[in-house]
C-alpha cells in the first residue's frame, strides 16, 4: 500500500514537472517580446537594457528556466512585468472575484442539475426525460459568451434590470448593506449565465449515474423493505451516485474556469480571467505562468 502511494506521488510529481516545463517552453519559445511594448522613443535604449537585465531576460533560456523552476518550487513566482508586483500578489488579489463567480455558478449548477438529472433518471424514457435531454444538449451547445451577450441584450439594454459590467458601482452609498446588495446585483448576471450554461452537463451526468445506480441490488432490497420510492430515489440512489458525480466535478472545473475567463472579459469582471487575458496581450511571462 505504501509503495502504491509513493508511486502515485512520484507520478504526480513527474506530471507536475512535465506540465511546468511544457508551459515554460510554450511561452518562452513563442515569438514576441515583452520589451516590444516599451519600444517608444521616450524610453532610452540604456533604460530598456537595464530593465531587461533586472527581469533576467538577458540570460540564456536554460538559465532562466532553472532559475524560474527553483523560484517556483520555493514559492516565489517572479514579479509581474506590467503590474510591478509579485505575480502571486496579482493572482491573489484577483482570485476572490473569480472564486465568487465560479463558486456561485457551480452552486447554481448543482442546485438545478442534480434534481433535474435525478428526475430524468426516475422517468427515463418519458416525454419529460426527452425534453430534458434536448434542453441539456441545447444548453451545452450554447456558447457561454453568446449566452452572456444575449443576457446583456435582454437584461441591461432591453429591460435594464442588471448592470452590464464590473464588480460594483462607482457611486455607492456608504455602509455594509448597500455594498453587499450592490455586489450581489453585479454578480447576478454573470453567475446566472455561467451557471445556466453548465447545467446541461450536470443534468446528463446525474441522469446517467443515477440510472446506473437505480438498478443495483441494494436499492432493490431497500424497496423490498418497504421504504418509499421517493426516499429511495432522493436519498439512497443519489448518495450511491455521489462518488461518480464527484469525479464529474473534477472534469467540469476546467470548463467552469474557461467559461469564467470569457465571461470576465465580457463583463469586465476583475478576476483571474481578466488578468490572464491582459497578461497574454502584454506577454507578462511570470504572470501567465502563475
Amino acid at each position: 500500500m505504501l509503495r502504491y502511494v509513493l508511486r502515485r506521488i512520484a507520478a504526480s510529481a513527474l506530471l507536475l514537472f512535465l506540465v511546468l516545463t511544457g508551459v515554460f517552453l510554450l511561452l518562452r519559445l513563442a515569438p514576441g517580446d515583452p520589451m516590444a511594448l516599451l519600444e517608444t522613443p521616450r524610453i532610452p535604449a540604456e533604460a530598456r537594457e537595464e530593465l531587461r537585465r533586472s527581469w533576467g531576460l538577458d540570460q540564456p533560456l536554460a538559465t532562466q528556466y532553472v532559475r524560474w523552476l527553483g523560484g517556483t518550487l520555493a514559492g516565489d513566482w517572479g514579479t509581474s512585468f506590467s503590474h510591478h508586483r509579485p505575480a502571486t500578489d496579482v493572482v491573489r488579489s484577483a482570485l476572490p472575484a473569480t472564486l465568487w463567480l465560479g463558486g456561485a455558478a457551480l452552486l447554481l449548477q448543482l442546485l438545478l442539475g442534480l434534481p433535474l438529472g435525478t428526475l430524468a433518471a426516475r422517468r427515463a424514457g418519458s416525454l419529460g426525460d426527452h425534453g430534458l435531454r434536448v434542453l441539456s444538449l441545447s444548453l451545452y451547445a450554447t456558447p457561454t459568451f453568446w449566452l452572456g451577450i444575449v443576457a446583456l441584450l435582454c437584461f441591461t439594454y432591453r429591460w435594464p434590470i442588471f448592470p452590464p459590467s464590473h464588480l460594483q458601482s462607482v457611486f455607492l452609498a456608504p455602509g455594509a448593506i448597500p455594498l453587499w446588495s450592490d455586489r450581489l446585483h453585479h454578480l447576478a448576471l454573470p453567475v446566472l449565465v455561467l451557471g445556466i450554461s453548465g447545467v446541461g452537463g450536470w443534468i446528463r451526468y446525474t441522469r446517467a449515474s443515477v440510472l446506473e445506480v437505480l438498478s443495483q441490488d441494494h436499492l432493490v432490497a431497500l424497496r423490498a423493505r418497504g421504504i418509499p420510492e421517493r426516499r429511495v430515489l432522493w436519498i439512497h440512489a443519489l448518495r450511491s451516485a455521489l462518488p461518480s458525480l464527484l469525479q464529474v466535478l473534477g472534469f467540469t472545473l476546467p470548463l467552469l474556469l474557461s467559461g469564467a475567463l470569457i465571461l470576465e472579459v465580457l463583463f469586465s469582471w476583475p478576476g483571474l480571467g481578466q488578468v490572464t487575458y491582459g497578461a497574454l496581450l502584454s506577454r507578462d511571462y511570470p504572470l501567465i505562468l502563475a
Binding site: 507520478a11 513527474l14 506530471l15 512535465l18 506540465v19 511544457g22 508551459v23 510554450l26 511561452l27 513563442a30 515569438p31 514576441g32 435531454r133 444538449l137 441545447s138 451545452y140 451547445a141 450554447t142 456558447p143 457561454t144 459568451f145 453568446w146 451577450i149 444575449v150 446583456l152 441584450l153 439594454y157 476546467p254 470548463l255 474556469l257 474557461s258 475567463l261 470569457i262 472579459v265 465580457l266 490572464t276 487575458y277 497574454l280 496581450l281 506577454r283 501567465i288
Partner: protein, 310 residues
C-alpha cells in the same frame, strides 16, 4: 431514437451545403461595405436601393416615383445613369454596412473548415498514440499516457489561448494548436479498447492463424476501436467549434475581416446597445451547429453502443 440521428444528419447536411455553396447563397460579398454611412446597422429585413456611382455604391432609402431621384441620409439627389437595384438585408447589416446574412453564411465555412481539419488531426494523433501505447505497453505506454495526462490536466481553452495569443493566429496555426491539444481522450479510448481486445482469446486465435500484424490491425482491431472513438469524435467536433469560436471571440482566432462566427459576435459587442441582430444571428448559427453534432453523438451512441440498446 432514430429521430435524433435523422435530425442531426439533416441539419449537418444543410450546414455543409450552406458552407460549400456560400458564394452562390450569400447575397453579397461578406466583406463588401455597402455604403458605410447610409447602410450601417440596418435592422433585419430592411431594403435599400443600391445605386452604382462608379467608384462607390450608395444605398438609398427611397426613390421618387419616376426613379430619377433618391433619398439618402435625409437629402434628395438625382440618380445618374445607372438603374437603382433594390436589395433586401434579411439579417440586417453591421456597423460597416456589411450584410450580416452573407457574413454568417461565410462564417459557416471558416468554422466547419477549422473543425473538420482539427478533428482529423486529433483523430489521427489519438489513434496513433493510443494504438502504440496499448499495443506496446510497458514504458512506452506509461510515458505516452503521462504525457496525455499532463495535457489533459489543463483547461484546454487556457492552453489554446496561450498558444494562439503568443505564437500565431493564422487558420493553420489554430488547427495545429487545437488538434495537438484535443487528441488525449481519443488516445485513452483507443488504448483501453486495444488492451481489452488484446486479452481475449479471439485475438490469440487470429494470431495463431499467422495473420500479418497490419491485417490484424485493420481487420480485427480497428472495427472494435472505431465505434467508441467515433461517438467521442462526434461530440468533440462540437467542442472544437465552440473553442474556435471562443478563441475568435477573444481576438486570437480567425482574424477579421474574414468572418467566423466567433469574431462576428466579438465585433457585435461594440454595438450591442443599438443592434441586437449583429450578435444574435451568428450565435444562433453556432449553437445550432454544435447542437447538431451533439445530437449526432447521442444518436451514434444509441446506435453503436450495445450497452445503450434496448
Amino acid at each position: 431514437m432514430r429521430l435524433e440521428l435523422r435530425c442531426s444528419l439533416a441539419l449537418l447536411l444543410l450546414l455543409l451545403l450552406v458552407a460549400v455553396a456560400a458564394p452562390w447563397l450569400a447575397p453579397l460579398d461578406p466583406n463588401q461595405q455597402v455604403d458605410p454611412a447610409a447602410a450601417r446597422l440596418l435592422p433585419p429585413g430592411s431594403t435599400r436601393y443600391l445605386i452604382d456611382e462608379g467608384a462607390r455604391t450608395l444605398a438609398a432609402e427611397q426613390l421618387s416615383p419616376d426613379q430619377s431621384e433618391y433619398l439618402r441620409l435625409g437629402s434628395w439627389r438625382s440618380v445618374s445613369d445607372s438603374a437603382p437595384q433594390p436589395r433586401r438585408f434579411w439579417l440586417g447589416t453591421d456597423r460597416y454596412g456589411r450584410d450580416v446574412a452573407s457574413r454568417v453564411v461565410y462564417g459557416a465555412r471558416a468554422s466547419l473548415r477549422v473543425a473538420v481539419a482539427t478533428t482529423l488531426v486529433s483523430l489521427v494523433l489519438g489513434l496513433l498514440v493510443g494504438g502504440i501505447a496499448g499495443w506496446r505497453g510497458g514504458l512506452v505506454d506509461a510515458l505516452l499516457m503521462r504525457m496525455a495526462d499532463a495535457l489533459f490536466a489543463f483547461p484546454q481553452l487556457f492552453l489554446v489561448l496561450a498558444a494562439a495569443a503568443l505564437w500565431s493566429t493564422g487558420e493553420l496555426a489554430i488547427v495545429v494548436i487545437l488538434g495537438t491539444t484535443s487528441w488525449m481522450e481519443t488516445a485513452r479510448i483507443t488504448r483501453s479498447e486495444i488492451l481489452r481486445i488484446r486479452g481475449t482469446d479471439a485475438l490469440d486465435a487470429v494470431r495463431g492463424l499467422g495473420l500479418s500484424p497490419p491485417r490484424i490491425l485493420t481487420h480485427h482491431l480497428l472495427p472494435f476501436v472505431l465505434p467508441p472513438v467515433l461517438i467521442h469524435t462526434a461530440l468533440r467536433v462540437g467542442d472544437i467549434i465552440l473553442i474556435e469560436a471562443s478563441l475568435s471571440f477573444l481576438g486570437f482566432g480567425i482574424q477579421p475581416p474574414n468572418p467566423s462566427w466567433g469574431n462576428l459576435i466579438a465585433e457585435a459587442t461594440d454595438v450591442l446597445d443599438r443592434a441586437w441582430w449583429v450578435a444574435v444571428f451568428p450565435g444562433a448559427a453556432l449553437t445550432l451547429t454544435v447542437l447538431a453534432f451533439g445530437l449526432l453523438a447521442d444518436g451514434l451512441a444509441d446506435r453503436l453502443d450495445p450497452r445503450r440498446q434496448g
